[in-house]
């Protein structure tokens, strides 16, 4: 067993981006009306190893569709997506399945992310069976310790966990895979305010200790600001502004970004400071 924060066995050069999205377009067709809705409209972005990138925007702006397409879990769309140097459009099914554990997703609804019929223990056991070599680096109890959960949690079923506990279990499950990229899709918006900060701190800590890159999907600018170095602002499927967090937040160029900043709780107080 390797110690906590064991370094990744690098398979590609460190300077190669973990994820490159080039000119992605994803459209949804409404089955009954036949209308086509463009959820993601010519979006490009790139995430370097260990980087922390945020995509912000209001709900319905295409953030989640972008994340699902970029990780190969949702509708593909057109455009080039390269995950750890592999193009998703040409990759074989087998290879994709081998590649998938490198990207783990933490979803908004922690209870929906756990099979209600599986205890925490049997869920972890299944992950270990799926990826025996990848997951052998840490024991269950220690893993739960990393996300600050007591080992008693192992025998509980999802409905017996609070939202914060469930989300920690989800983070532990992601951590177990030692991913190169963690996609966090509104990881705190389903939680009580009191536990939101803990979960964010946990994500930050895991990113720092494992060297995984973080793609944060959020509508909450405060969350993004505290966690990420780079931000992409999405509006109606398009990235309207992108750049380092400080630059975007201090000197927003696009009108929509300004609106978002103005709508932030405590915005006036912060700007005066």
């Amino acid at each position: 067993m390797r110690g906590a924060g064991a370094p990744h066995p690098r398979t590609s050069e460190p300077e190669n981006p973990v994820l490159v999205v080039g000119d992605l377009v994803v459209e949804h067709r409404n089955r009954s009306t036949g209308e086509v809705f463009r959820a993601v409209d010519h979006v490009s972005l790139s995430i370097a190893p260990g980087a922390s990138v945020a995509v912000v925007g209001e709900s319905g702006s295409g953030k989640t569709t972008l994340a699902m397409a970029a990780t190969g879990l949702g509708a593909r769309g057109t455009g080039d997506i390269r995950l750890l140097g592999h193009s998703l459009s040409t990759i074989g099914r087998r290879e994709l399945r081998r590649l998938r554990p490198e990207v783990q997703v933490v979803f908004q609804d922690p209870h929906g992310s756990l099979d209600p019929r599986q205890s925490v223990r049997s869920g972890l056991r299944e992950l270990r069976a799926l990826q025996p070599r990848r997951t052998s680096w840490i024991e269950d109890a220690e893993l739960l310790g990393r996300v600050r959960l007591a080992p008693e949690i192992l025998d509980r079923y999802p409905h017996q966990l609070s939202g914060g506990q469930a989300q920690r279990v989800c983070i532990a499950r992601a951590l177990l895979m030692r991913p190169r990229l963690i996609v966090a899709d509104e990881p705190t918006s389903g939680l009580d305010v009191s536990v939101q900060a803990d979960v964010l701190a946990l994500l930050q800590e895991i990113r720092a200790s494992t060297g995984a890159a973080l793609l944060m999907i959020s509508h909450d600018l405060a969350v993004v600001r505290s966690l990420c170095a780079e931000v992409h602002v999405m509006y109606r499927g398009q990235v309207v502004e992108a750049g380092p967090c400080e630059q975007v937040f201090v000197a927003p160029v696009h009108e929509y970004t300004r609106e978002l900043l103005a709508a932030m709780p405590g915005a006036r107080w912060r700007s005066r400071r």
Partner: protein
Amino acid sequence: MRAVSHLQLDPVSVRRASRRPRTSVFWLSLPLAVTVGLVFLLPLTGLLPDAGQNLDATRQPPGFLDGGAWAHPLGTDKLGQDVLTQFVSAGRLTIVIGLVGALVAIVPGTLLGVLAGYFRGWVDRVISVLINAQLALPFILVALAIIANRGSSLPVLFLVLALTGWAVCARVTRSATLAVRERQFVFGLRAAGASETRIVLRHILPNLAGTIVALGTLQVGTAILVESALSFLGLGVVPPRASWGSMLASGQDELSQAWWIAFFPGLAITLLVLLVNLLGDALLTHHDPRKRRR
């Protein structure tokens, strides 16, 4: 450790375990179990009257009516055979047909419903057309056509029950699957490298188990009713075999002289199907979170 963790359960879990459906499921299952037990165990006790013919005691009324004798608690038929003895052995076949008939409808129905709901695309389109075609046909005609063609026998009866029952089950499991496959844990499993087969077998199906059991229960009732109608018309269970439905067929000719021959099997079917339907409804409510909330 286990005990401790159970003590620490938060109030959420206590609130979610609604008590009423569980108790009603128990109180409905009990008489069903007793019925099944009686029908299968009574012949072993030797308490039942002799099954043979007795031309001196034809069309005797049941014991509790005028002119009846307790030697034949439910009376005798036109050959002097004891109705209770027939009733018990016919009940066995009826229950077996109900169970097997539900199974042969539920298994392909679930399979097709899950396939359609999970894989979507052309698989879904083909299966949906079949479901709609089946639901848009008067099933009794399909049954009649098959029986007219193949004659009546138990395998044909099961074929009819399967053909007429699968579509309802497929439709329900399809929409249930559609809901489960969009749950986030499915994406999580895929991200962990789980194969689609594994997701379907180990995660989708277990999550549908409650619905499937409820559907299966309701299907038992349907199977018994369909069987009784077909047997009544002489197209299902035919002599020398007997079910409650075929007892109704022989009782039909005797209605004016010996109404009790038809009365008890019909009553038994009604009560059995009623219990099964109540149980199925209770199970469905129990497993349908949308209904549970009300």
